[in-house]
């Protein structure tokens, strides 16, 4: 129904507007990715090598990406969602199966990130980066020690920190603080998490999005719940920052490259995925975005000083018991409702 409507309107709009598209013979690959999550210089390299042009668009949450692919008029050839969202998209038949024979560089991907529960045989996805969610804080401004999620309910830090403007992640913080699984389907636990987040709201400076790094660097915020790569990018420039993996446990995530159903350039998309899995391209991206690579060949090129840091390549025992998000299925409507109520309060 929605799709039909959008199709009609966009068709008519396309007919009305003069369709000033690229030359017919050139393939333009539509790539949909998180903001600040690729070194955009590699698009030129890709075009030089293959003649395929990349049209790049970004999103700031998995939910936003899902809504746009599900209902939007744009046909994307490549998207890079996280684990639970990939599970959901597979369940709803929104992804193309991958032909691994066209992605020889898939061999570079570490076994640790293959065959995870959201896509057990990697039939649909190729791991891109992985990381954690934790707390980054400015040691000049915060008298530590910061060790746990519970610190974010401490009134002494009122107005000094930001939460993350992403449904699953912010609810996860509260669930973990209360000692529950972040994949809970227990309504009572979810309601408790809601109460905790509403209670915390007066202490929160903002629910930040992509601008969190700027807020930390400009000292607008002294502490923030972030994805590890954001912490990594900040810490490598400003050593007064520290990144904490909270003791209650946290989220371990893997973002993977997928081809959404309806993609018009499936061959080119496979070429692009293979390109991203190349060691040198992987290194360029890892160096730019600051997240942890899933590529064993790229890992060999990474500055060894990043090994055994909380923010880049934590020791396995530090992230023991960390959970990967699972798709809650239809129960997601409860998460949606809880999140709306938290924000509306």
């Amino acid at each position: 129904m929605r799709k039909g409507f959008i199709l009609v309107v966009s068709l008519l709009a396309a007919v009305l507007a003069f369709t000033g598209c690229a030359k017919d013979d050139q393939v333009v690959l539509n790539v949909y990715n998180w903001g600040d999550y690729i070194d955009e210089d590699i698009f030129d390299t890709f075009e030089e090598e293959t003649g395929i042009k990349v049209n790049y668009e970004t999103f700031s949450t998995n939910e936003e990406m899902y809504t746009k692919i599900k209902n939007g008029g744009t046909k994307y050839d490549i998207a890079i969602p996280s684990d639970y969202m990939i599970e959901k998209m597979i369940r709803e038949d929104m992804l193309e199966k991958l032909d691994m024979s066209k992605i020889p560089n898939y061999a570079n991907i570490s076994d640790e990130y293959k065959n995870l529960s959201f896509d057990p045989d990697n039939a649909y996805s190729v791991p891109y980066f992985w990381g954690t969610v934790g707390i980054v804080y400015n040691t000049d401004l915060i008298d530590g020690p910061i060790t746990s999620w519970a610190n974010l309910w401490d009134p002494q830090y009122a107005g000094m920190f930001t939460m993350v403007d992403s449904q699953r992640d912010s609810i996860m913080v509260a669930l973990k603080m209360l000692g529950y699984s972040m994949n809970t389907k227990n309504l009572d636990e979810l309601e408790q998490a809601k109460e905790a987040l509403i209670q915390q709201k007066p202490l929160v400076l903002a629910y930040a999005g992509d601008n969190v790094k700027d807020m930390l660097i400009s000292e607008e915020a002294a502490m923030a719940v972030v994805w590890s790569g954001e912490a990594s990018a900040v810490i490598q420039e400003y050593p007064q920052f520290d990144y904490v993996l909270p003791e209650e446990g946290s989220n371990l995530w893997v973002d993977s490259i997928v081809i959404p159903k309806g993609a018009e350039h499936i061959d080119a998309a496979h070429q692009f995925i293979d390109f991203l899995c190349r060691a040198d391209i992987g290194f360029k991206n890892a160096d730019y975005v600051g997240y942890s690579t899933c590529n064993t060949e790229t890992l060999k090129m990474i500055d060894p000083s990043l090994y055994d840091t909380t923010y880049a390549y934590p020791k396995p025992e530090w992230i023991e018991g960390f959970e990967i998000f699972e798709d809650p299925g239809d129960f997601v409507s409860e998460y949606d409702r809880i999140w709306t109520e938290i924000k509306a309060n």
């Binding site: 008519l12 809504t67 403007d165 449904q167 607008e220 949606d336 999140w339 709306t340 509306a344």
Partner: protein, 278 residues
Amino acid sequence: MLKKLASGPYLIWIVLFIVVPILMVGFFSLVQEGPDGTLTFTTANFQRVFDPIYVGVWWRSIKIALEATLICLILGYPTAFILSKMKKRIQTFAVMLFIVPMWMNFLLRTYAWMTILGKNGILNQLLALVGLPQMTFLYSEGAVLLGMVYNFLPFMVLPIYTVLAKMDRNLIEAAEDLGGNRRIVFTKVILPLSLPGVISGVSMVFMPAVSTFVISNLLYGGQYMLIGNLIEQQFLTVGDWHFGSAIAIILMIIILITMAVMNRASGNDPEESGVNLW
């Protein structure tokens, strides 16, 4: 015939981009999608709009929009009055000063406020210069209000200015000849004659203020929810188009009622005043 032909493109435009979308929004607001994609008619979406949590959001949005409108009026009317009294050459220049900032992107102007109001922003640096302690401006209701007033003030000043500038000088002179002092001339002649401008100014400020989501997002960091944010969230992140549509419909009704009340209050025939929006 020619007239009809000429209006053709506009009619197509209206039907495609105004009538059809409104009908679709109305339709979405009245249905719920089952897990298997079947649609059932229901009023549940509208019932949810009046849940106490969302009533709080409505109250907050309408309150801050009214505050912004009132401040714009208090600042805007005297400004328009002064503008209309200026000598022709300075007047053109002064009006330009109001219009030029509007050529700059709205987002950019709001972002600029973030760097002014920030913890280490320009304002706090000035405070530090005169030895005052750092204050928190950003991420507060005041910041949102300021953003609204700043962005929408020209929409108040310009219509009032247009009415005042076009006002028949003879009427004012007649009032003066008949012995009215300056206060009486203003309250009995100028103010009533300028009401149509005030009405369109108020509508042009109130409408964007009550439905904005960008200003509150940027200046209150995503934790302050206005109706605009609630609609945005339903469509972009939660994906509940039905609830989102129901809120949008109610918002439209509220704006329509406001407009109707305003027009009634002005007691003016909109056709006659020329600047009235409705």
